[in-house]
Amino acid sequence: MSNLGLFASRFHYSTNSLRQFDEALRYFKRPNVQRDSTETQSQIEKLLFVLKPIAEMLNGRLSETINFDERGIVEILQQRRAKDWQRYRELIIQLTAKFISGNTNITENDFKILNDVADAIDTECANLFRRMSGRV
């Protein structure tokens, strides 16, 4: 497979991650979400599929997730939050730990961070799309 194929493959996986992530975000926007239902848990898992490898990297560990490029996403976030990166980095780690601990309550500030992460994945997808279409 040439480079184009590799970009197409990563584009495919990143887009799937973004769609799942946004699906979960839209779910939590609904009024009266049952906080301890199985559906809520499954939507949290969709968020964690993306957040866990990012938090692992921010904690200086290597992630075992294969089909998600956390390095690319972290680089985009870091560029966008260069001024307060250390504080922002901590917020992502804390939010991930909160979901892992089973807390499914999402605040306005949490939504902002989750939207930032989704925007970063969207940027990564756009970048991969440009590369796979040969517009490098």
Binding site: H12, R19, R26, S133
Partner: protein, 383 residues
């Protein structure tokens, strides 16, 4: 912003509908019906999603549109993907493409792929590549006239195996061993990272180790596909890799620590292929290929210092074993000496290996005459 977003949504719906009209039935080659269905299915699902977004837009405030904006962009990219990497194969149904589609269909039967075969389109601007979203393999235009690089089709089929391993029950062992292989990669680099962080040495080394680990997310796929090709088509794939490297590679020890490197180095790919050949019982072929490779590799000189961290021998050996075990347990038709020497079976892979034997023992022009005759026979057989 809301009004503009709605215009974008409507524009994309119209584009998807226009693309559907470019799929003309009846299809010239029935092997492309899977692609026609897939393109239609993708376009229909994007139209459905865009209509949902249009409804959702009416319930949103101006300052709450970020996810709708992203989803519209996802749909737009998907629709363009179908336009660039799906519809052309259906719109330009050439005899070259028709032949390769029939060939891939035959290969899919021979090696027992547990899912529908991908389609082929002869408009590649690089060597072979697969677009996994539309399930199309792109091949160079004149590829259907030659035999020596057709083994690369098996590598592309390996990518289809990776895409399908989550959903096809028969591929459970492939999936488990693939995950285990990457787990071994991560363990290796976590250990290395720990020791490099403790050492008093250049501070860049731990960063390089982290970088190399992140590249392995692409490299593991390529190694898997190389091994898949090797165990389904046999030594012909290793010869094809050698041949392509000689013609195309600018550095067989490639290791970029500044830019993303999508493929592992050609040297490491050859090393894993040699491991694979021995594992499959092709020891003599491994010797021959290895010996020729060593002579040719001298042309590129020695690797950079960081190369020692990139492709450790123990990892390549573990990955080979895990991958081939997973494939054996998943009931693929694994290549063997018997299959390649059985003159009655008429298998494509037997012919592709024979092509390499004839290539090495013939004069260049004699080989071309032989190759032309075999291609003609093959076309007649597949018609």
């Amino acid at each position: 912003m809301k009004d503009y977003l709605e215009s974008l949504v409507v524009e994309q719906i119209n584009r998807a509908l226009a693309l559907k009209k470019l799929i003309h039935y009846p299809l010239e080659y029935s092997e492309l019906s899977g692609l026609a269905e897939r393109c239609t299915e993708i376009l229909d699902s994007q139209v459905l999603m865009l209509k949902e977004l249009q409804k959702e837009l009416h319930n949103r405030e101006e300052n709450d549109l970020r996810d709708i904006f992203r989803e519209m962009r996802v749909c737009a990219r998907y629709i363009s993907s179908v336009e660039y990497f799906g519809i052309p194969a259906l719109y330009h149904q050439t005899p070259e493409g028709g032949f390769l589609n029939k060939l891939v269909f035959r290969i899919h039967q021979e090696i027992d792929l547990p899912f529908n075969p991908p389609s082929v389109c002869c408009t590649a601007t690089e060597h072979y590549f697969s677009h996994l979203f539309t399930n199309v393999i792109f091949a160079p235009l004149s590829e259907s006239e030659f035999l020596l690089h057709l083994p690369d089709l098996y590598h592309e089929l390996g990518h289809c195996v990776l895409v399908n391993m989550e959903s096809v029950l028969r591929l459970e062992a492939v999936r488990d061993n693939y995950c285990l292989a990457f787990s071994k990669v991560t363990d290796h680099y976590n250990r290395l990272l720990k020791s490099k962080r403790r050492e008093i040495g250049p501070p860049e080394i731990p960063m390089i180790v982290e970088w190399i680990h992140s590249q392995w997310k692409s490299w593991i796929n390529e190694f898997f596909c190389d091994l898949f090709a090797l165990c389904t088509v046999g030594p012909a794939y290793a010869w094809s890799h050698l041949h392509l490297t000689i013609k195309r590679s600018d550095d067989i020890h490639e290791l970029s620590i500044l830019q993303k490197q999508t493929h592992p180095s050609d040297e490491s790919r050859m090393r894993i292929l040699i491991h694979g050949l021995r594992n499959l019982g092709f020891d003599k072929e491994a010797e021959k290929i290895s010996s020729r490779w060593s002579k040719l590799a001298a042309y590129w000189g020695t690797p950079p210092t960081e190369y020692q961290y990139a492709y450790p021998e123990s990892l390549l050996s573990d990955i080979t074993k895990l991958t081939l075990d997973g494939l054996r347990q998943s009931a693929f038709s694994i290549v063997s000496h018997e299959i390649l020497t059985d003159t009655n079976n008429n298998e494509i892979r037997a012919m592709l290996n024979e092509a390499w034997q004839v290539f090495w023992r013939s004069k260049p022009e004699d080989f071309r005459s032989w190759e032309e005759k075999r291609v003609t026979t093959l076309r007649t057989t597949l018609r």
